[in-house]
């Protein structure tokens, strides 16, 4: 069955507020319609459009052209109708979409998650486009010498279409200890835009899992070390996913229910993955809440990383 009605748009997706033109043509072979062909009336959603926006063609074909000076709807149905006994009969429709091209994404940052084994990047998308917009996380292997100016192999792209404004690249596709050139590109039917580039070693943006903090067991015997009065003895252990990372940790403590914490900058934990610590200078017979967090570090300070979250709280009470 050949189509009776042809509707064409000057563009299916336009800039919000821009003009748009359409044409509706009734095929002369289509007897069911040409027999009763009267006036063509246009509707935008449920509203009839002003007559002076359209003109019926005089060239022998049955049809009408219409121009909407400003399309202010982000989504609307444009209907081509034939008046029949006073009721507009819809004989064809076209879907109109309007919006904006994407702005450059901003606040672009990445975090390497060792537990999930993936590099997750986030960004702020800019003003709403009102159109389906894709965000593509693009990256390349690079060399460390020239700040990522020379690119080597491309890394598999990661696409975010669901409005989540983040995307993750699995570790298996990344070099952990070599520089990558990485950025996010936004694109839709009206245009595209890129965020600023980052030139990073994925391991330098690692965010460690928090350490595990526990009470140290009291050891009895000749070299027993009962906790001193005013001291608490704790036992810490690096998270399993980062046992191999040399870390620097810090401790914070407070009385339960207080607002402020006392910060204790800690030893460089070095390559050991567990140890004990004596926290002293505390009140006697008092309850304390303690937390610990760590960051990737090395003696020369060449290794980068983000502080882990604070560990789960440990509640301990000092001796009488």
């Amino acid at each position: 069955l050949q189509d009776c009605v042809d509707i064409h748009l000057s563009a299916s997706v336009i800039h919000l507020g821009a003009p748009i033109s359409a044409s509706c043509t009734i095929n002369t072979n289509c007897s069911s319609l040409t027999a009763i062909a009267t006036k063509i009336v246009w509707k935008l959603d449920w509203e009839k459009l002003p007559e002076h926006w359209q003109h019926q063609r005089e060239d022998g074909t049955l049809g009408s052209n219409i121009t909407l000076p400003h399309l202010n709807h982000t989504h609307a149905m444009l209907s081509c109708c034939l008046l029949l006994a006073g009721t507009p009969q819809i004989i064809g429709q076209a879907e109109l979409q309007a919006g904006y091209p994407p702005q450059s994404p901003s606040n672009f940052s990445c975090i390497m998650n060792l537990t999930a084994q993936e590099l997750t990047c986030q960004w702020k998308p800019g003003r709403s486009t009102y159109l389906p917009t894709k965000f593509i996380l693009k990256s390349y292997n690079s060399t460390s010498k020239d700040n990522c100016q020379s690119r080597k192999k491309p890394i598999q792209h990661c696409v975010s279409e669901d409005g989540k404004n983040q995307c993750s690249i699995p570790r298996s596709q990344l070099p952990l200890y070599q520089k990558i050139d990485i950025w996010v590109k936004a694109e839709n039917m009206l245009g595209e835009a890129e965020s600023p580039h980052l030139c990073i070693y994925p391991m330098d943006v690692v965010k460690l899992e928090p350490p595990i903090l526990q009470a140290a067991e009291a050891r009895l015997g000749p070299d027993s070390s009962f906790p001193q009065p005013g001291c608490l003895k704790l036992k810490w252990e690096k998270a399993k996913s980062s046992k191999h990372v040399e870390q620097m940790c810090e401790l914070q403590y407070q009385h339960p229910g207080e607002l402020s914490w006392v910060l204790v900058p800690f030893l460089n934990s070095g390559p050991q993955h567990a140890g004990e610590y004596d926290l002293c200078g505390l009140l006697f017979a008092t309850r304390y809440v303690l937390q610990m967090r760590c960051v990737r570090s090395s003696l020369g300070g060449q290794l980068g990383g983000h502080w882990s979250d604070w560990s789960s709280s440990l509640e301990l009470t000092t001796r009488e």
Binding site: L1, D3, C4, C30, S32, L33, I36, K43, D45, W46, A76, M77, S79, C81, L82, L84, T87, P88, Q89, I90, I91, G92, Q93
Partner: protein, 174 residues
């Protein structure tokens, strides 16, 4: 297969029927609301011309009892009508990603209803007549035609279901 001597459906059948018909009508109402809200296709009376050139047949809405049909003949007529609408609903597949889940549920609900009528005929030990499906189903060559066809088909189905329910209630009175 002997004809049952009863002229009425079991009392236990009607509550199930009511529930099934309400469900199908709720499904259709939801689809009708979406077609209006998302596509501005709200009034079947604006789609008469489209319906004519798509060849979507209007239903005959004459109750069984006004035609003075037997229980068996009435059930056969209802089952035939349901199968016809099942075919029309199937022709609407591909309507749009947003409407597809509800359309799928409507297909399952109509299928369940038709199967239930068939089972009832078997339980009454009457032979359901397998009638050839009527003519050809409409074909849609554009999204607009499919959506406009849907508005008309759903409008006709609501009328058919109202009539089917009145018939079945009439057949359940003892």
């Amino acid at each position: 297969i002997p004809l049952s001597s009863s002229n009425y459906l079991p009392q236990s059948f009607l509550p199930q029927i009511q529930e099934q018909v309400r469900k199908i009508q709720n499904d259709i109402e939801e689809l009708q609301q979406r077609l209006c809200a998302d596509y501005s296709l709200c009034h079947p009376e604006e789609l008469i011309l489209v319906g004519q050139y798509l060849g979507i047949p209007k239903p005959l809405l004459k109750n069984c009892y006004s035609q003075d049909l037997s229980l068996v003949a009435c059930l056969n007529q209802l089952h035939y009508g349901l199968q016809f609408y099942q075919g029309l609903v199937k022709a609407l597949e591909g309507i749009s990603p947003e409407l597809a889940p509800t359309l799928n549920i409507l297909q399952l609900d109509v299928g369940d209803f038709a199967a239930n009528i068939w089972q009832q005929m078997e339980d009454l030990q009457v032979a359901p007549e397998i009638m050839p499906t009527q003519g050809t189903l409409p074909t849609f060559s554009s999204s607009f035609q499919r959506r406009a066809g849907a508005v008309l088909i759903f409008d006709y189905m609501q009328g058919f279901l109202d009539m089917a329910y009145r018939d079945l209630r009439h057949l359940s009175q003892s």
